[in-house]
Symmetry: C3
Subunit: 170 residues, 3 copies
């Protein structure tokens, strides 16, 4: 039976590691879907650091934009898809254009309930600080918040990770 889980948390909260432990615990094949684009040295370092910590047996798919399409292509009944992370994906889409972003978000909402197997979606909480001066940053946190709310309705479990510790929200 498909099980869908949304794993939320702040920066360096341990949300990725928690999702990776959940993926490992399935005991089956894991496809890791990375949304990060190595645009600069800092990001390259973060990506390399994350990659070094993942099991070598996992498949890796890198996709900054067409997330739903990739999920549909790789989901199998006895496998686990781990997406890390949705906020980077959203941020990549915001840098393209609004129409594409809305189209990809709608495609994700359509795909999530239909995918076979296990699905783990990792995303950053970004709206708990002062309202940003930057209009694009405000837009981004609005979109991220809406995305989390909608995915929470589509997922079986929602977990908030704080200091590496999971808190079940659903």
């Amino acid at each position: 039976m498909p099980v869908r889980q949304l794993i939320l948390g702040g920066a360096r909260s341990g949300k990725s590691r928690h999702a990776e432990q959940l993926a490992l615990a399935t005991g089956g094949a894991v496809t890791y879907v990375a949304t990060a684009v190595a645009a600069d040295a800092e990001m390259q370092e973060r990506i390399a650091h994350h990659r070094a910590q993942r099991p070598a047996a996992w498949s890796l798919v890198e996709e900054p934009l067409a997330l739903a399409q990739v999920l549909r292509a790789h989901a199998v009944a006895d496998g686990c898809l781990l997406v890390d992370c949705l906020t980077l994906w959203l941020s990549n889409l915001l840098a393209v254009d609004d129409a594409r972003m809305q189209q990809e978000i709608a495609a994700l909402y359509a795909a999530v309930p239909q995918l076979p197997g296990r699905l783990l979606l990792v995303s950053n909480e970004v709206g708990w600080g002062i309202v940003p001066d930057n209009p694009l940053a405000r837009r981004f946190r609005d979109e991220a918040g809406r995305l989390h709310q909608q995915l929470a309705t589509l997922c079986d479990h929602v977990t908030l990770v704080v200091a590496g510790l999971p808190l079940a929200l659903k």
Copy 2:
């Protein structure tokens, strides 16, 4: 019996919608107290968006500053007051002056335990990010934090909303 509830959450966490569902579930008359001032196009759009989602039967009171006075004027034993949101109200008061802000906060603390009926107070968590460079922003998040702590002692229930999901804190 009066029931007072504080509903906290980050931006676009679904806290307003959660409060609205609680208000609807009372089955009685609801007065929606909006603290937003439509200072610019972005805010006008947000206000219109929120308004369109609320039941037409609800009364609407708009008050950016004199919140306690408005609550005392509209509270009835079999009704529900929904205030959305306290951080905007605080931000409006900070833009006036400090004396007025402290006076209105004290008036709110005095009013909350005395109001008849149901009271739902929505507010933004704003202190979970990096310390802001801007002294006014630091002041604002300090005031918001103190306000939440004090109201939490005056309320019967405190709820944290994450991704649209309520987490009971009290």
Copy 3:
């Protein structure tokens, strides 16, 4: 038996007060370890404000950098050490240099499991907002996040404080 507790929360969340109540409830001697340095008038005011709220019987140790050394020097089997707060300590260390920071963090990880008595560690959640533009701020929230994760594994209890209300994470 030693009991170690990490108390996390946003700015003005009531985390310090919660830790102080836990320290008071031990009924024994309390040593308050302050990591704040009064670099400017705003910080002096915050320090004075915190100090005025603490019991006069508590010992006070001020140490911005060599935290592990101070904890080892003051820990006693029937006493309680209250450190407020770790994020300020981290921020002090970041302003010195990287080697010193890593050395002090390693020393803390080594000390925490070995200290006799009760240990209360207060720290700020800082990674729940938009990614900061400032590279040093990004570095700081990464280090704070890693610190919280590691200390959470070393502590018996981890508590998240929101609006003055404690939420047990471990």
